[in-house]
Structures are given as C-alpha cells and as structure tokens.
Symmetry: C2
Subunit: 363 residues, 2 copies
Amino acid sequence: MAGDPLPPGSTIGILGGGQLGRMLAMDAARLGLSCHVYCPDPDSPAFAVAARHTVAAYDDAVALERFAAECDAVTYEFENVPAGTVEILTGRLPARPSGRSLAVCQDRKAEKTLVEGLGIGTAPWRPVDRSEDLCAALADIDTPALLKTRRFGYDGKGQARIDTLDGAHAAWEAIAAASAIVESLVPFALEVSVVAVRGVAGDFAAYDVVENVHEAGILRISRVPARIAPATAAAAVEIARQIAEELGHVGVLAVEMFVIRDAGGERLMVNEIAPRVHNTGHWTIEACAISQFEAHVRAVAGWPVPSTERHADAEMVNLIGADADRWRDFAAEPGAALHLYGKSDTRPGRKMGHVTRLRPRGS
Amino acid sequence: MAGDPLPPGSTIGILGGGQLGRMLAMDAARLGLSCHVYCPDPDSPAFAVAARHTVAAYDDAVALERFAAECDAVTYEFENVPAGTVEILTGRLPARPSGRSLAVCQDRKAEKTLVEGLGIGTAPWRPVDRSEDLCAALADIDTPALLKTRRFGYDGKGQARIDTLDGAHAAWEAIAAASAIVESLVPFALEVSVVAVRGVAGDFAAYDVVENVHEAGILRISRVPARIAPATAAAAVEIARQIAEELGHVGVLAVEMFVIRDAGGERLMVNEIAPRVHNTGHWTIEACAISQFEAHVRAVAGWPVPSTERHADAEMVNLIGADADRWRDFAAEPGAALHLYGKSDTRPGRKMGHVTRLRPRGS
C-alpha cells in the first residue's frame, strides 16, 4: 500500500465536488499534481479548478471504472461515500484514506466504540437499534441528551434533542432512522478540534488545537490557538494520533472534542471524527505555509507528512446562506482573506464561503 | 472605467496560460470568480485550474471576440501581448491594466523615458535605433554596458554585454534587433523590487521591499525583508507609487531597482517595470494573508486594494530546468512550500516551480 510517492504530473481522483474538493484540487495543482473530480452534481464547485471531472452517480460502476483508470490515487472530500463505491475503487488504485477510516467514521456506533476502545473519553452514550431500545438507553444515561442517526448525519442534520423522557418518542420520529445512538449533552467549557495528518509510512503531524463555536449545529467560528492549557492541547493531539494510528488512516483527519472544566482541571471527550479535511482547519490556508488541503494531498500522493507549523494567530468565520451577500463588506476589509465557493444557489444553512483574519502570533 | 466591482460569479479573462496565469486563476477561484484563460499553447499550465480556456493565436480576431463576449474583465499574465490584441479587447470589456501600461512596459525606451520624466534615477542609457547610433551612444555612457532590444526581452534574453567599444558591433549582431537601448552597468550593492497594487479608484498598496539575486539573467532567489535602510525601503515604495500613478495602472505592478551604496548612503535606480504579477512576489502566497495574485485579481475585478501585510519573513528559490527533478528532496523538507507549475517539458532555463521557506518575522 505504501509504495513509491506519486511524482508530479500524476492524477489524484477526488470523490465529491463541494468546497472541500475545490480547495483540495487547488492545492494539488500547486504541487504539480492533476485532479479528476467525480461528483453526481453537474454544478459542483470543484469542477472549475480541476483538470478533469466526471458527472456520474456514486453507484455507476462503468463511470467508476473509467475514473479509476484515469487516476493514480483516489481520495474523498466527504465520508458518506457509499461502501460499494469504495469497494470498486480499492484494489484498482490506492484509496486514501482506506475503506476502514470511512466505514468507522460513517457509523457513530463504530466510531464511539473505537474511541472508547482506546480508553479515550466520550459523552455517555448508548446504541439505539430499535425504538424499543430508547427507553432503556435513557435509563442508563442522563438527559438532556441528543438522539443521532448512526449514519449520514452532518451539520446538525439527523439529530434531535431529548430534554425529558416524555420527549423520547417524538425525537425518534423526528430523525426517522433505522438505527441511532443517544448521548448525554455534556456541560462543556469549550469545543476544540485537532486537524492532523498521517502519511503512508505512519508519520504524523497535527496543526495547533483550534477552538470552535457552533450555532444551530453548524460551525460558525474557529479560532487558533484554543484557550486551553498546554497539557490539554498536548493531550488533544495525542488523542488524534491514537485514533489515526488505530484506523491506519492516511491523509488528514479531524477530531472534534469537548473540553470539560471541573475541580480536577481540564478533561477531553471526543465528540466526532471526520476522516478528511475539515471546516475547522480552513484557517491553515493563511496561517500556515502548508494548509490542511495540501497536507492531505501530500499524504494521498504518498509524500512525507509536511510541517504543520503556524506563523500567525487566526480566526475563521463561516459565511452561511445570505452571509455571503455581504461580500462587498469583506472585500473592503483590508486584512480579511475572503473565500467564496462558487455556489450558484444561496440557501439558508448552506456554507457559501468563509473569511479568515490573521493576527501576529501571541497578540 | 471604474464602475461597479464585479460580483462573485463573474468571469475574469486571462491572456497567457503560463505559471502566472495558473496562480492568478487559483486565487480568482478563491474569491468565487471564474477564469477563462486564452493562450495559443495547447499545453498551457493555467488551463488545468481554469473553468474555461481558449487555444487560439493572439491575432485571431474571431476567437478574441468570442473570448471578450464570455468575460467580464480581461487581464494579462505577461506584458508582451500584441498591441492589436489589446485594441480588440479594450472597449468591449474592462482591460486591466490598460493598453498604456502595456505599451510603456513593452518598450524599454518608453519605460526609461517615463521613469526619468518622474525624476527617478536609472542607469545611464541611450536609445539605439540604428547600428550607426551605437558608437555615439557609447561615447556618452560608460562601459561595461548592456545592449538590450527595445521590445520582447525577458529572463536575460535579447541582451548582450559590451565590455569595450571594440565589442559593440558583435553585441549588435548578437541581439539582432531593429532597435535597442544601451545602458551602463552600474555597480549596485543589491537588487530589490517592489510589488505593488493599484485599484480602479487609484488606491494603492505595496508589499514589503524584496531583495533579489539573479543568475545568468534569471531570478534565482527573493528574500524579504530586503537588507536596506528603512528610508530606502520607503523611497522604493514611493517610486512604485509614482510609476503606477503615472501609468494610471490597475492591478499589480513590479518595479525592479538597483540599490547603489556610496559615501552619501543608499540610492535607488529603476531597472525595469513589469505591469503584472511578478516572480519576485511569489513569496506573498505563504507570507501574506492576501497574495500578489489575489491582489491583482481583486484590482482587475474593481474591488478595493487589499492589505499587503506580511506576517513572516520569507525566502523564495526558483526551480529552473532540472532543479525540479529534486522534488522528492523538497517534499521531504518539512517547512518547504513547494510549487510546481505542471509543465510537461523540462528545459534548461525554464521556470518549472519554486520553493518558499518562511521564518518568524524579524528572526
């Protein structure tokens, strides 16, 4: 699986054509690598910056075969790629990260089981495979709790809050899932994440821990450095390293965590793992010589893991829905690095772009 | 000419498909702007990252008309665009920079005349319109001198050195030009450049002065900050501002200067003006939140001039010809930001990529 690094001129296939694919394709081009983006949506933002693209369904075996034949390695901009798609591609060419990273991160039960298996904290949780299990699960853990579909949730979708036992049935109806997990809402002081990269040789590096603010389940702001103790930051990076190692992950992965503050100091609980470049790592484009996107591409190409050093403090704000209509304000703000994803439709809750502002380190 | 800023989703036309066009197209995409690259070379590096491209000659009026109809503004990645091409485009859509910037910078005589007219120093020079003028010119200025074609010179091409009057005729034969200029070689302490940007409203900003090392007429290394006195740096920026203003320039322009050190301190002489993004500004990609490429695109789109603030010291090294074969070394060097331009043919003297290394400011 390791093999020789792909030389410049090679083609990286990217499944998914959203803003993450778009930013991956641009950083691949910086390295002299070519990109082929595969996405069912003919209006995919990533197509505009990729040398080639395919518009086809994720289960179109003929299109996938052709795509595989034209690429030297394949990666994913999102984790909800159907398992069948990955099966067709794996074996034909290096697929990085591998099917195991995807399979675990697609399934909240598998994810939490893996994290707990490493002795890493999570919010108290129980699997809920049938509606009948929900009451028993809620007997074990505290409310308020969140009921989450096991699969295909993102940006707060597929989730329902349960404040009291009375509301359990309504929550189950609301998410309308075949299977789910329920987890206690923990009273966290901060949300943080670690964006890290692991190479084919097992080499590992992490960007500085970032502090995040979510609104209505959607990331609003990321700030680096996170306002946590140095020991907590080191522990957060170690958690990401253990998870990446356990998955045999290749590429970038992001681990979202809660920081719990009590009399004993700061503790971490893993909330979610994303086996890909992540919204909470967008600040790396301006604040680091090598961004999370380039780090991912390098790992996918079998190159050594690069430096994740940061030379500025940074704050990133997502532009969600109509926020992007204020582009003139951001364009007129001298230090603001504006990113717009080239999406033609503005919809409420849709990530349209982001703005990063830098400050000197430690200011 | 000013008008409203182009909104995201607009299309910027770029004449020229080399690495400068490629880096412009990537930064335009960051802002949600689309690019259409026009270049006669079907293997143009910029095509891979642009939403659209046209392969056609610069004098293909039909192709140019179609290109103009599909773009909202047009710019150039190099100054040697034929005047006729610019004529066809100007009037149909905003052409930024304008034909005046191109006309002056295409012609060493016009360029030096403009600089002198502003009271700015240049190396002693004389126009040589016919071979018969060369001896008279050399009677006025000191040897050693450089004979340079008036038009279409770059990377040391179209130049010949004259060490003594005896060598004058051979130099004239070597450059084989219809008209030329001859200039004295000045004993400079340093070569520096200012990469600056001027907006449609006349707003202006400059990146920090950069120190350059050329080898065989080709840029080898750029380092920022330049090791010059603060007053010299301020004077260099003021020179760039005056030139941009005089040209009515819109977009990025680079002014290369010699720093002369003598008993009186440091003096500046303008060597050359490039009315475009410039190799000596590549370090801005990593060391600034907004690179020279994005600054140029913003100006072309009629947006306000952005901040040119720098948050790290930087050194950029060009990868020329076979240098790029060492990509594995650069890929393994943790802090090195590697750029490869996607050129399929490695030729001696050809710019294949560059590497930028950052250091904390003032270190």
